[in-house]
């Protein structure tokens, strides 16, 4: 694995954990080129929280995916904790995600064939942690699911599934957490509880949080907000 060679890594840790420069993403659709993101620039420092807001189809999910290394940009650059993502291949980006990144999804994305406990254990097992089971149990306790550990996702409510998802996201002690509409599929009360949980754990673990939402109230709880429309950065709110 050539991930940690000099060409791919330089130390900017003290400055920013995520730096996005002139980021553009285009798709070829039928006979025309569709620009989803157009020259986006921003940076986030360790421990900060950032929300990306905008209407449907504005490009915010694409931006989140690119920042997390799930996809590669058409042009521009993303530096995630010193890793220049566009210079890495898919397996190398997977290794970065395994080391640095946690995810929370709108539709929970739990592995349906695994129990709640096993879902949380996966990131720990990937890191070959001997205490994977112990640590996963602690995390599930933290999110209040100590009695539901052996349940499969289809035996849990939406809120419970999202709590498993949060426990899984924090399992590998990520430096940066990406959340895509984490309360989008939940009722207001459960949504509020999930929001509180995310922000509390984020504070406890001192994780950087990047959050995509169209809920401005949720966005107001982050240190910074950026607003995207038609693939372009409109303004920075709160920050």
């Amino acid at each position: 694995m050539s991930l940690f060679t000099r060409g791919n890594y330089f130390s900017l840790k003290a400055m920013s954990i995520l730096k996005v420069e002139n980021l553009t993403k285009t798709y070829q659709s039928a006979n025309r080129q569709l620009t989803v993101l157009d020259q986006v620039n921003f940076e986030v420092h360790p421990g900060e929280t950032l929300s990306i807001v905008g209407p449907s189809g504005s490009g915010k999910t694409t931006l989140l995916g690119l920042c997390a290394g799930l996809d590669i940009a058409s042009s521009g650059s993303i530096i995630l904790d010193g890793f220049i993502l566009e210079s890495l291949n898919e397996d190398q980006r997977a290794a970065v995600r395994s080391q640095l990144v946690g995810f929370i999804f709108q539709n929970f994305q739990l592995l349906q064939t695994l129990t709640a406990l096993e879902n949380v254990m996966v990131p720990l097992e990937l890191k070959k942690r001997k205490d994977a089971k112990q640590k996963a149990m602690e995390l599930l306790e933290k999110v209040g699911l100590q009695d539901r550990m052996t349940h499969y996702p289809n035996q849990l409510s939406g809120g419970e599934q999202q709590r498993v998802s949060i426990a899984r996201a924090f399992a590998n002690e990520p430096k940066i957490l990406f959340a895509d509409e984490p309360t989008g599929n939940l009722d207001t009360e459960t949504g509020e509880m999930i929001e509180n949980l995310i922000f509390k754990l984020n504070e406890d673990e001192r994780t950087t949080l990047i959050l995509v939402t169209h809920d401005l109230e949720l966005a107001s709880r982050t240190h910074h907000s950026i607003h995207i429309k038609g693939g372009k950065l409109q303004e920075a709110v709160n920050g």
Binding site: T61, L64, G65, A68, L70, D71, E90, D91, A94, A95, V96, R97, S98, Q99, V101, F103, F105, Q109, L110, L111, Q112, T113, L114, E118, V122, P123, E125, L126, Y152, R168, N172, D180
Partner: protein, 839 residues
């Protein structure tokens, strides 16, 4: 490096929830592997049994066979025991019913078989027979056919004998041989009295010897081989019997293996298609794992391990099934076996079947499984992303290549000939291709042209054929190919029978009398006339041998280079020739002309059958010196004829002109046409009574025998083809179960918006009707093509479309699909509409 430990752990976890579905996938290979293991194991057992029972098959250590009564005094002196069998085809008559039949009469002297026994019922029948005198042993099929038993009499030639036993088993004889020529054993002391050994009779003299274990048989043969060849004596030893029987049964086992292999391939298509559905459902989980930082290799490993485990389970189940199934096979193949097969599990077959099963389930699962490597983690955020760049994946093409190579390799292993391998693989690929195009074309056509004005249930049923995760392609391929196999067998059988029955039409001859001695010609002709039968042909036959071809004797020929040398058989064989200046109905002149012989100064021009001439490198104008019972006769090849050997007629490799052989010793054949089976039977019985040495062949007997043989063969092949159909059924059931949830959702949705159960039942029935009808239609179409090709190029008969068997196969297969589909639909239709809200 792939972290196999983690992949294995994840595979184990995944299997807990989805394992049952994978079991369904691999169930498709169970029947195929079972058939393969059963056939291979049976083949191994058969080969072992042939090895162990080779002595019983020959019944002696050495047999010497020829067409003349030659003695072997030095061998008799050397041997511990000697027996002589004189056998020939002859009519026998059962006085009780007055019926007669052509049989193989075997006159026996000595205690043959020395190994094994003539198994009779009652058991003491053999001892009784060996006392000699007017006693006979008769094949059990004959006894059953003419409803006679022990104590009744049988007339063989001029002698009437008492039946002292029914022959249950004759050394080296199979049920099929008994069908064609049932044996009647008579004591040698009755042979002369029977009056059946006359000029022209085709008689085999077989000397059997039992040798002391100290005798070096190889050395003995080496010393005498040349002299025996000179005397046209053929020898057989236990080793040669073992080799030739083993070889022919290896061919049979290989052929059956090939049929089983088709069932395996069909199962693989089912596996491939089901894994495709499985993978599609797994793509979201794969994307999540990619997000969590798992490398594609590890995720691929998770599913590969699952496929491996399920392939192993399927193969082991199949192998176990096959190991049990082979106990049935001796009963299925009963009529073809020359030995009692000692059935035991062949571990070689079990291991081969298991490895084959695993290998092909992985190979066929790999095609869809490779998609997993290309799943983008972005799919977690955008489900429509799916897997990207899969079509360009070089590994995909490598897997496709491996599948084709595997099929070719395995077929070669079974067939042993490249040409046959390519024909077989080519046809399998072509058949799959046709059915695949049919399925794809159908789905495309429905999507493109389905008119909105069409009746709703019909439209909905047609649309269901291309629902997401449909298995239209795999069902069409498996059911279609199974139908093609069954259909081909059925059609070919009918074609062959029709070809023989053709003789019944118009003025084609349907009855033939042979071995008529010259002094009997007038009497037999009179008998025919008295019975109102026409004499369609009177054919005189003279026997002779070849001495020289273009001045080359047999010895000269042997000294020639390989490519110039003719087969020794041409010099060794006895030619039966006729003479006439015209062609008969079954002949066609291809080259030269029939040159008549007018005076003693003329050269004699003979006409040769073109295939025989070509095989023996004989050209027009070549000189052939015949030995006509001691008198040399120089001839020249004047013409080549094409002969249709499939008619009830006398056909000759060599035809002389008139006026050459009239004074040579000869016998005669008369050919006539009877109006019906009863007339044939009456005439035959009258002929046997008056002229016991005259043998009769009639069309109804040929048809009957052929029907019986084809029935036996087709029973075996249909038994094997059943595995293909069963595979199709399993694929159908598994695909119905896989799509069950989706079908329940669709049905509940339709019911929620007001569809009645009756309408849903119509939709479901129509869907299976289209699916079954199309698969059966495609299969029938392929079988018509295969039958036409086989008829024209293998059996060389003209192909006639027959609609009735075609419709029968079509209706049966379609009906079975609809029935299975509907059985599965009933609990779908019963599902509660509230379930959709809860889910």
């Amino acid at each position: 490096m792939v972290d196999w430990g983690w992949s294995f752990l994840m595979a184990k976890r995944d299997l807990r929830k989805t394992g049952w579905r994978l079991i369904l996938f691999v169930s498709a290979i169970v029947t195929g592997i079972a058939a393969l293991v059963a056939v291979t194991s049976f083949g191994d057992n058969l080969s072992k049994s042939i090895d162990n029972q080779a002595k019983e098959m020959l019944g002696a250590d050495l047999s010497l066979r020829n067409r003349q009564a030659i003695e072997f005094p030095e061998m008799e002196e050397l041997a511990e025991a000697h027996a002589l069998e004189v056998n020939f085809a002859s009519m026998v008559l059962f006085p009780l019913s007055g019926e007669s039949r052509l049989t193989q009469v075997r006159a026996l002297k000595g205690n043959f078989p020395f190994y094994g026994s003539l198994e009779t019922l009652p058991l003491e029948g053999e001892q009784e027979f060996r006392k000699g005198g007017k006693r006979a042993l008769v094949e059990k099929t004959l006894l059953a056919q003419f409803n006679v038993g022990v104590g009744d009499s049988i007339k063989v030639g001029n002698v009437t004998l008492e039946i002292v036993g029914g022959l249950q088993k004759v050394p080296g004889q199979t049920g099929i041989t008994a069908t064609v020529a049932p044996a009647v054993y008579i004591p040698m002391d009755q042979l002369e009295a029977s009056g059946l050994v006359q000029y022209g009779s085709r008689i085999n003299y077989i000397h059997y010897f039992q040798l002391a274990p100290t005798v070096d048989l190889d050395k003995l043969i080496e010393e005498r081989e040349e002299a025996w060849e000179e005397d046209k004596v053929r020898y057989e030893t236990v080793a040669s019997e073992k080799e030739s029987t083993g070889r022919s049964f290896q061919n049979l086992a290989d052929f059956l293996g090939l049929v089983a292999f088709i069932a395996v391939l069909l199962g693989c298509v089912g596996v491939g298609s089901a894994v495709n559905v499985f993978v599609k459902e797994k793509l979201p989980s794969v994307a999540v794992l990619r997000c969590l930082g798992v490398r594609s290799k590890e995720i691929f490993g998770v599913y590969l391990i699952q496929i491996f485990i399920m392939g192993l389970i399927g193969s082991l189940l199949g192998a176990a099934g096959g190991a049990f199934l082979q106990f049935l096979l001796p009963f299925i193949f009963m009529d073809f076996l020359p030995v009692d097969v000692n059935v035991q599990v062949s571990w070689r077959a079990v291991i081969m079947g298991t490895v084959t099963g695993i290998l092909i389930s992985i190979l066929f699962a790999l095609m869809p499984l490779l998609k997993i490597r290309k799943v983008s983690p972005m799919m977690t955020l955008r489900p429509e992303e799916g897997s990207v760049g899969f079509r360009k994946d070089p590994l995909r093409w490598a897997v496709l290549g491996s599948i084709i190579l595997f099929i070719i390799g395995f077929s070669y292993l079974l067939l042993g000939e490249w040409e046959e391998t390519f024909w077989f693989t080519g046809f399998v690929i072509f058949a799959f291709g046709v059915l695949w195009f049919l399925a794809i074309g159908l789905m495309w056509g429905i999507r493109k042209f389905l008119p909105l004005s069409l009746n709703y249930p019909v439209r909905q049923a047609l649309s269901n054929l291309y629902r997401p995760n449909n298995q239209t392609v795999s069902l069409l391929a498996t059911i279609g190919l199974g139908t093609a196999m069954i259909g081909t067998l059925y059609f070919i059988q009918n074609q062959l029978l029709d070809e023989v029955k053709f003789a019944d039409k118009e003025d084609q001859p349907n009855m033939l009398f042979f071995d008529i001695q010259s002094q009997q010609v007038e009497g037999t002709k009179k008998l025919l006339k008295d019975n109102g039968m026409p004499i369609l042909q009177h054919v005189p036959i003279v026997t002779m041998a070849v001495d020289e071809i273009n001045g080359l004797t047999k010895e000269d020929n042997e000294a020639l280079e390989d490519e110039e040398r003719r087969s020794n058989f041409m010099y060794n064989r006895e030619f039966r020739v006729t003479y006439r200046d015209t062609l008969i109905q079954t002949e066609e002149l291809l080259a030269g002309s029939l040159k008549p012989y007018r005076s003693s100064t003329d050269s004699i021009f003979v006409s040769l059958e073109e295939g025989y001439a070509e095989r023996n490198k004989v050209s027009l104008g070549d000189e052939i010196l015949f030995d006509v019972q001691g008198r040399p006769l120089k001839t020249y090849v004047g013409s080549f004829r094409k002969v249709n050997f499939r008619r009830v007629s006398t056909n000759f490799l060599v035809v002389f002109p008139d006026n050459v052989l009239e004074n040579a010793p000869k016998f005669h054949v008369l050919i006539t046409k009877t109006k019906n089976d009863q007339q044939s039977a009456d005439l035959q019985n009258a002929m046997v009574r008056q002229f016991p040495n005259v043998s009769v062949v009639n069309l109804s007997m040929i048809v009957e025998t052929l029907e019986e043989i084809l029935d036996k063969i087709s029973f075996v092949i249909q038994f094997m083809a059943l595995f293909s159909i069963m595979t199709g059924v399993l694929v159908l059931i598994s695909s119905l179960l896989i799509s069950k949830f989706q079908r329940i959702r669709e049905n509940i949705l339709l019911r929620t918006i007001g569809a009645r159960r009756g309408t849903l039942l119509v939709i479901n029935t129509l869907e299976y009707l289209f699916l079954g009808g199309l698969a059966a239609g495609g299969g029938v179409l392929l079988s018509v093509l295969a039958s036409a090709l086989l008829s024209l190029y293998v059996f060389e008969i003209s192909f006639r479309m027959e609609w009735i068997p075609l419709i029968i196969v079509f209706v049966l297969i379609t009906g079975m699909t609809v029935l299975l589909g509907l059985l599965n639909s009933f609990n779908i239709l019963k599902a509660n509409t509230m379930d959709i809200l809860r889910s």
